[in-house]
Symmetry: C2
Subunit: 314 residues, 2 copies
């Protein structure tokens, strides 16, 4: 099945104190039919620039033979509150907690009291952790990839310079923000391997890596707008759950990426320790992006701890 | 003595093939009188935003009791070709080799055939290495801090996004470029220690680290212009001497900084190995900036290998 709909979740109080009168959430439900027990339902929380269409941004994680194989798993995606792919985008600043509050309402509306897994990377990982903390009775296993229990000063600073680029120019600034972000998503070693000091492949008076960034910036402005980018980076910046205790009854797993310098593995390991959670490390030279770029390694790492849903055994 | 002058070094051929008809170099000579042997002369090569006034940007490295104590050392600084502190700024792109070619002419004009030390960090380190390679007979010891034998793909990419900010807005873009650069000069741990997730100290709706960056950007636009920034980042990008062999007769030292993620210590160690040079590591959580921010540690690290000049023994 593949179902897409916009669900009205009603009025929503935000952490800033304001109340949004009528919040819409864009939802995509894909894969196997959901079991009433919820044991084959995975909610895949998207990162900064994703959408409810999980199969578009995590194709090899929900494809045939993948970690969450859609033949057996019911894969649900929701465009975050503030996103530009069909959900309400408020004027107010939102937090990760606000985003999750709206998502829990979606599952109420869908009549799904409990699901097997919430998983996501980066901003998606923050959501997965917030789920575990705010609704431990509603999720069996929260998988937090490339995110710790707070956004660091360096993370905040990197988001700030990206927002400032957008403030300089609403189009070219969005492209520039993306380029800056791409540097934080990749690693030095990967860039050396791919680009090193090679000349531009189109013969322009620049290096190959500059042409690569130009291409990334151009593609990005077609699918993202500055207001959403600004809103969601502020949401990331707001994230800090270091005052929370380990959620009872939730299997909680953190995954650090060995070459990630935006969300450093040592930070993630420390967060796992604070929350008495499992810590696994994805060995990769892809940097932060490894949660998207290394689906096979991610599957090998997580398959042993993700319960196979009943439907696959039937 | 303290002497400042603008020296005309005549026509200069550039690596791009063009010839500049009349090149001026702004020079500051400070400290002890130079000995005819040159053994108390140090040329301190400045980084991206410095000037010929070494005492302004490296005060604790040339002050009393410092590594190059001006009571004994004659400290010479030259604003780089393309700089905005008194030297010629060409329309053409320049390379580190061009910059050093102009500097060698300055020493010809000053009647200094040989000096004891050339030292610098970052772009200044690239100059020190280029000196050792291009004029090994003219320098006793080249000290290359926070720089390797080539600029990496990540380094190029980071410079490219900074230039793009300047292309968006010649004033606010320069401030933004500086902010981006500051992130690459500092370290995650330092930011955590200094700013963590603290609120803005002036009560604005932002984090402390954002206020810090704003302040850095504002200060910077008063002393730097976009054309120089663009020209000199291109010069850095052009730097690649991996095809060169170890210079004969020069004592060559590379210094990596443990927390530097712009010029990673492992890269610098590898460069030292390729050039059969000494490698030392500065332990610091200041990141790339440690060559400016940790003068005491730098002195402790380098004092054992920097010969004390005769004048101090007299």
């Amino acid at each position: 099945m593949l179902r897409e709909e916009t669900i009205d979740v009603g009025a929503l109080e935000l952490d800033c104190g304001e109340t949004l009168p009528a919040v819409q959430q864009r939802v995509t439900i894909d894969g196997a039919d959901p079991l009433p027990s919820g044991e084959n339902i995975v909610f895949a929380a998207h990162a900064l620039t994703g959408s409810s269409r999980v199969a578009e941004w995590w194709p090899q994680v929900v494809g045939d033979g993948a970690l969450f194989d859609r033949r057996y798993w019911c894969v649900i995606g929701i465009n975050v509150l503030g996103g530009c792919y069909g959900s309400t985008r408020p004027q107010e600043r939102v937090t990760v907690r606000d985003i999750v509050r709206a998502q829990l309402r979606v599952f109420d509306k869908l009549g799904i009291p409990r699901l097997a897994v919430v998983a996501g990377g980066s901003l998606g990982g923050m959501q997965a952790l917030q789920w575990a903390l705010d609704a431990p009775e509603r999720v069996g296993h929260a998988i937090v990839i490339g995110a710790s229990d707070h956004h660091t000063a360096m993370g905040i600073a990197l988001n700030a310079v990206q927002r400032e680029a957008i403030a300089l120019d609403p189009v070219r600034g969005v492209a520039l923000a993306r380029k800056i972000a791409m540097l934080t998503y990749k690693s030095d070693d990967l860039f050396r391997e791919r680009h090193d000091r090679k000349a531009d492949r189109k013969g322009r008076a620049q290096f190959d890596v500059e042409g690569y960034l130009d291409h990334q910036g151009e593609k990005f402005v077609e699918r993202m707008d500055g207001a959403t980018y600004t809103l969601l980076t502020h949401a990331m910046d707001s994230f800090d759950v270091r005052d929370r205790v380990a959620p009872p009854g939730v299997d909680l797993t953190f995954v650090g990426i060995s070459s990630d310098w935006l969300f450093r593995p040592q930070e993630i390991r420390a967060a796992a320790k604070r929350l008495h959670a499992r810590y696994l490390e994805l060995e990769s030279n892809h940097g932060h992006d490894a949660f998207l770029a290394e689906p096979d390694r991610l599957r090998d790492l997580l398959a042993p701890i993700v319960a196979v849903p009943l439907s696959s055994r039937a």
